[in-house]
């Protein structure tokens, strides 16, 4: 095997797309100049349930420049309805199995009931306001509270991938025998992703071929979904997305507006651009569902937890059994022998909930880690000590060893950086003026995606005779840093300088990779890119050393390939580096303009004999105004063991962003349902609050190195979600430490803490 001498992987390099982004040259999906493009604007239902009665389009149609007003009466029907299945698996992946404007039924407020297409955005907006819709309104259920009596246990959830109920050991007897119990219910408001770029789609037809410029986390999922919905061959649909302005799950599944744009473009015979408004984003791309989780811990007096019972009740849509998988990591977080988990659902008049950053684990680990903190206080144990006493040395689900873990080191290093030992464990023991000060901790965990049925990951490597190289993979960059990291992986795999490699992505014409979801992106795509780059390297070395073919002029002719190393675009003997030649010299001498190789990697299934989970530890210090209940986070420390870090600079940004998401989940963020109107009450960035710069505390990110040999060739476990998991719990635990009041509801509202006065 040929070795590579240069090493850019794990270097904190600047983003390759940095200059384009800071100069405004980076073009996002709605910004690609396409001649003749016209504008579409959606009209959403204003009632949550019932039927449209009349839809008067006449006035809108009279507006100059209007090309079409589409309703269920004239919109061409879809060809087929794909099933709901997580896009990670590489199939068609609708976010909900309901496609609007097929008939007059209204399932949720904001559901599209009409679509106006006009030559300018202003005219389309103006005309959309002149579409008059009347409704036959039916009774609606929009909150858990309203539907609690009608809760049901689904057989399976999450696109049928997960069972609705799980059990191991004997939880009933485990709880009966345990001398100490924590029995609590935790509540969560719905959340919306609010990526800063609202979703947009531009559809361009050329005969029966469709090109979509779409803000998506999965171009292939978009291609397959739209092809199926419209009855087109998959090969006739091309999807491009060069830059995506954040996703967080909002763009992980394929929502109706994408195909609606394609249908409208075919209808008017012009390229059509649809950019959702911020308000429409609240009823167009799913959300994290309103939920409550009942967690019961049974423990011995010494702090050994023997049993976890973890039941979730959550809201779903009228037509899909969706719950984010909140129970997975909690089920294997500690070494309890007895476990029971279950999901129950309530049908509500909202769209189908979906993946939202830290899907499932962000809420599930809040419940578990709050309960663990309650147990620590109940037993008078240090919260870290309690967690160490329950450390799972092997996966409690399967008994398999962890492929890598590092959790003890995360607790230790995080605690050191935070100054955890100086903490007075007594609640309400520290004051700074009218501020009460407290600190809290929580465990973070997120599964490394390893499932049967994942698609092979592919990439192409091409090296030109001038020494420049292109790596291609159909992934998408929405800020994770994948374009930068893959450039590094490519440079190392091929053995060429970084500035000689370009990484191409964001086009379904490129080799297929998984969507950028579930912390899977860097692990999956790097495996394919690494495979392609090293294949091409080996191919070129083989050509240089080949004895059977004509090229006997290579200085490496007849050398043993295992003695050849590559660096800076040059192949050479390991022991005699002066003997060798560059890739360029080899290709030019042979009159060949380029060389190319395809790399492929089959993702890890579940049969590795190992458990694959990423771990970390979160620490937070808060100040609570004792009179007003205002909570300010003063600092956060997170220590994480994500395996190989391809680029510490971009990985740190992702982890820091995740931690701030956790802070946001704990404090300002929550979508409130106005159940009287059946609509989200705060559907704007003025009222759906996320932290601003002035709220951001000092955030300290620590990497704990672990060697990961199972997940994928480069040992990458991913950093997309782990930064968020546990952060909200660490803050809520800190709020308890500061005030002595336990808040079991997210977001923590000022009203919750009034009693601390």
């Amino acid at each position: 095997m040929t070795a590579v001498t240069n090493q850019t992987i794990s270097q904190p390099l600047d983003r390759v797309d940095g200059p384009a982004k800071v100069t405004g040259r980076a073009r996002y999906s709605a910004e690609i100049p396409l001649p003749g493009t016209v504008h579409a604007v959606l009209v959403g239902a204003v009632v949550p349930s019932g039927r449209t009665n009349t839809i008067q389009t006449g006035e809108a149609e009279q507006v100059p420049g209007v090309l079409a007003v589409l309703t269920h009466a004239n919109l061409p029907k879809i060809a087929a309805q794909p099933r709901l299945f997580p896009s990670l698996f590489g199939h068609a992946a609708v976010g909900e199995t309901f496609f609007p404007m097929q008939d007059d039924v209204v399932h949720y407020a904001g559901q599209p009931v009409a679509m106006v297409v006009a030559d300018t955005l202003e005219r389309a907006q103006h005309a959309a306001g002149l579409v008059h819709v009347s409704y036959h309104t039916a009774p609606s259920t929009t909150t858990l509270e309203q539907g609690r009596d009608r809760a049901y246990e689904p057989g399976r959830i999450f696109g049928g991938l997960l069972p609705g109920r799980m059990e191991r050991g004997d939880p009933d007897s485990g709880l009966a025998k345990a001398p100490v119990h924590i029995d609590r219910t935790y509540r969560f408001a719905a959340n919306h992703h609010n990526p800063i770029e609202p979703s947009s789609t531009t559809a361009v037809w050329e005969d029966d071929r469709l090109t979509l410029y779409d803000s998506t986390q999965g171009i292939t999922a978009t291609r397959l979904t739209v092809a199926e919905l419209m009855g087109l061959p998959s090969s006739n649909v091309r999807v491009l997305t060069h830059y995506v302005g954040g996703g967080f799950g909002a763009k992980a599944m394929i929502w109706p507006h994408v195909a609606l744009t394609a249908i409208a473009a075919r209808y008017v015979g012009r390229p059509v651009k649809l950019a959702l408004t911020r308000e429409q984003m609240f009823s167009s791309c799913g959300h994290r569902e309103e939920q409550e989780q009942h967690a019961v811990l049974g423990a011995g007096n010494e702090g050994r937890v023997t049993t976890l019972r973890h039941h979730k009740l959550s809201a779903t849509s009228p037509f899909d059994d969706w719950a984010e998988p909140s129970l997975n990591v909690a089920a294997q977080a500690y070494s309890y022998p007895n476990y029971q988990g279950s999901y129950r659902l309530v049908r509500t008049n909202t769209m189908t909930p979906t993946f939202t950053r830290g899907p499932g684990e962000a809420s599930g680990m809040f419940a578990l880690e709050s309960a663990m903190d309650e147990l620590a206080y109940e037993l008078g144990l240090d919260p870290i000590e309690l967690r160490l006493r329950n450390h799972a040395d092997a996966d409690p689900l399967t008994g398999n060893p962890w492929s890598s873990k590092g959790l003890r080191e995360c607790y230790q290093r995080g605690a050191e950086r935070f100054g955890w030992r100086e903490r007075n464990p007594a609640a309400r023991s520290q004051r700074d003026g009218h501020w009460l000060i407290g600190s809290g901790t929580a465990t973070a965990g997120y599964p490394v995606p390893a499932f049967p049925g994942l698609q092979p990951q592919r990439a192409r490597a091409r090296l030109y005779a001038d020494g420049s190289a292109v790596l291609q993979a159909g992934t998408q960059e929405f800020g994770t840093g994948v374009a930068t990291a893959m450039t590094q992986v490519a440079a190392d795999g091929l053995g060429v300088p970084l500035d000689r490699v370009r990484f191409d992505y964001g086009d379904t014409e490129l080799p297929n990779t998984a969507p950028a979801v579930g912390s899977a992106g860097s692990g999956m795509v790097s495996s394919a890119v690494h495979s392609a780059a090293t294949s091409l390297r080996d191919q070129l070395v083989a050509q240089a050393v080949a004895q059977a073919v004509a090229d006997s002029e290579s200085p490496l002719h007849a050398a043993d390939p295992s003695t050849v190393v590559v660096g800076d675009g040059r192949m050479m003997l390991r022991d005699r580096p002066e003997t060798g030649e560059t890739y360029s010299e080899l290709l030019q001498r042979n009159g060949v303009e380029d060389a190319e190789a395809l790399g492929s990697w089959q993702p890890t299934g579940m049969d590795t004999g190992y458990a694959l989970t990423t771990f970390g530890a979160q620490f937070a210090e808060v100040a609570v105004d004792s009179d007003l209940g205002l909570v300010r986070v003063r600092r956060m420390v997170g220590a994480f063991a994500p395996g190989r870090v391809l680029n510490p600079k971009t990985a740190r940004s992702q982890l820091m962003g995740g931690m701030l998401w956790g802070m946001s989940q704990a404090l300002p963020e929550g979508t409130q349902m106005d159940s009287r109107m059946g609509r989200w009450a705060n559907a704007s960035l003025g009222e759906y609050l996320v932290p601003v710069n002035a709220d951001a505390p000092e955030v300290d990110v620590e990497f704990v190195e672990v060697r990961e040999d199972v997940a994928n060739p480069l040992g990458v476990k991913g950093v997309g979600e782990i930064g968020q998991i546990g952060a909200a719990a660490a803050i809520a635990n800190a709020v308890f430490h500061a005030t002595g009041h336990r808040v079991r509801e997210l977001p923590i509202r000022i009203e919750h803490l009034l009693r601390s006065a």
Partner: protein, 138 residues
């Protein structure tokens, strides 16, 4: 008397704007925001639309040297004023110290709001409001 105040519209009107020291003439409805004029009419897409209500800051541009939100500014009210967008800010390619610093410190991820942040950050320095972290946060 009243017609001494110039009355225009409601049909599209011709508006002359100076953007990045270049005169641009466009036909817009009076109610068109500067942001939509830049993005949809002039292909100056570096100014981003994130909220359309003045909360996110992704559309920050300068009008007569002061940072403002293009989504809350009517294009037609900018006649006779100098508009600076991210595209004119460093002639598009050569980067200034603020832009280089954003890259060096990885001060962005998806990058969508980055041009607005750069426009705002440079103005912050120009206004002399950057003497401490607390002042910057404010």
């Amino acid at each position: 008397m009243a017609d001494r105040a110039r009355l225009r519209g409601p049909e599209p009107v011709t508006v002359e704007l100076s953007i990045n020291h270049r005169t641009r003439i466009l036909e817009i409805e009076p109610r068109t925001s500067l942001l939509d004029a830049l993005r949809e009419q002039l292909d100056l897409t570096g100014s981003k639309k994130g909220c359309d209500q003045g909360t996110c800051g992704a559309c920050t541009v300068w009008v007569d040297g002061r940072r403002v939100l293009a989504c809350l500014t009517l294009a037609i009210t900018c006649e006779g004023r100098e508009i600076t967008t991210i595209e004119g800010f460093s002639d598009g390619r050569r980067m200034n110290a603020m832009q280089r610093s954003f890259i060096k410190h990885d001060a962005f991820q998806c990058g969508y709001c980055t041009p607005g942040q750069v426009m705002s950050a440079v103005a912050l320095l120009d206004e002399g409001h950057a003497s401490s972290d607390a002042e910057i946060a404010e």
